[in-house]
Amino acid sequence: MFHYDFDWSVLWRHPYGAMFAKGVWTTVSLSLVAWGIALALGLMVALCRVMPCRPARILGGAYVEALRNIPLLVQLFFWYFAAPALLPKAIERWLYANVRDLPYYLAILALGTYTAARVAEALRSGLLAVPPGQLRAAFSTGLSQTGTYWHVIVPYAFRIVVPLLSTEFLTCFKNSSLAMTVGVMEATGTASYIDSFTFHGLETTTAASLVYLATSASVILLMTWIEKKLHIPGMIVRRD
């Protein structure tokens, strides 16, 4: 017989309520900052991969293949266990002594650099989908290489891959749950932490699931809005 006394109050009663709220906030901030890094770094890597300069292409390609093909969990462990040890001893000691949320920051780096590889792939497909005539047209008006990419090619490519980027953004959110394995108390970690005191894991994991669903729903709404905003008039419209 299934018998379980539900006690949803573990989600808000002291001290668990504050813990849980902090966990949710950690998930959101960690994902958003990692996403920011992923976009900026991903764009640079994607640009490297379409440049005429061969060493840049090789470097960009190596970045993508390495980061995309090593499991995120392994990368997290690398950042957490190995990366600080690679620094000079003094800096390492200083880090552990002074940075209270070190795992949080390391998780941001891990998630950001990993997601950057995936973003770079998406953006590269966008850059390659921009007709070569656009490059010629921009060059023919005297725009520099930088100006051409900044004003014409990259904005165009971005608009092509907005749907792909939405997917990566969602994945980034969900991947942030892995940060609990290095001790970051984000939503999932907090859920299991509260469970270990109250044995009410059913409620806490349900709540965590709902958090992911809610954030995903907001991301989807946001991206749909962005897609509409950035839609190029006269191009194919996505209807849903």
């Binding site: 005539g133 010629r136 047209a137 023919s140 008006t141 005297g142 725009l143 165009y156 608009r159 006269g234």
Partner: protein, 242 residues
């Protein structure tokens, strides 16, 4: 003046797409280049403003070599306009932004000056009411006229046209040709790759026949159509004029 000396270009070794071409395009003239598909017309045109990296020869703009160390290729391109078969407007920008981008970024014009000039040009090509629209909302003929306005906004000393009307429906060809005729009348130096033989006959000062990367024949437009020398030119003309 644009001077070409022994220009050769290839994409694959052993197959010259432009083969040892020497020629001069004097200021204020309209020169038409025609020739069969794949004869290297587009490639040749792209060499003139340095869009294509040619392997041999020289392109001189007002006596300055494109390949000279002290030549700033971007500055050269800014002074030579180019119009493409498929317009190549930036689809994510309004018509006005398409036209003002380069004047603002390259010539460092103020936004207001650039917009004023763009509106003048849009009026000149006959579509001032479309300034706020996006390229995808315009007909092909309107798009090509915007593309011409975009080039003119840089106040070029010469304009290159690469089959500007061959992607257009017949009823739109005329409106684009009219803009080009107006330009020629204002003394613009123009090099036009086209199969519009009516335009060549009426507007061009000279016509060049290009085949397999070479200029086989260059004559005043009357002579070109009345007295072509080369059998390949005659054959081409008979096919295209029917």
């Amino acid at each position: 003046m644009i001077e070409i000396r022994n220009l050769s270009l290839w994409y694959r070794r052993g197959h010259k797409v432009v083969d040892d071409v020497s020629t001069v395009f004097p200021n204020g003239r309209t020169i038409v280049i025609c020739g069969p598909s794949g004869s290297g017309k587009s490639s040749f045109l792209r060499c003139i403003n340095g869009l294509e990296r040619f392997q041999e020869g020289e392109v001189l703009i007002d006596g300055k070599s494109l390949r000279a160390r002290e030549t700033d290729i971007h500055q050269v391109r800014a002074r030579i306009g180019m119009v493409f078969q498929h317009f190549e407007l930036y689809p994510h920008m309004t018509v006005l932004d398409n036209i003002t981008l380069a004047p603002r970024k390259v010539l460092k014009q103020s936004a207001k000056d650039a917009v004023d000039r763009a509106m003048q040009l849009l009026t000149r090509v006959g579509i001032p009411e479309n300034a706020a629209k996006f390229p995808g909302e315009l007909s092909g003929g309107q798009q090509q006229r915007v593309a011409i306005a975009r080039s003119l906004a840089m106040e070029p000393q010469a304009m290159l046209f690469d089959e500007p009307t061959s992607a257009l429906d017949p009823e739109m060809i005329k409106e684009v040709l009219e803009v080009m005729i107006d330009l020629a009348g204002r003394g613009m130096t123009m090099v036009v790759v086209t199969h519009e033989m009516g335009f060549a006959r009426e507007v061009a000062d000279e016509v060049i026949f290009m085949d397999h990367g070479r200029f086989l024949e260059r004559k005043s437009s009357t002579d070109f159509f009345e007295r072509p020398d080369h059998p390949r030119t005659r054959e081409f003309l008979s096919r295209i004029l029917r």
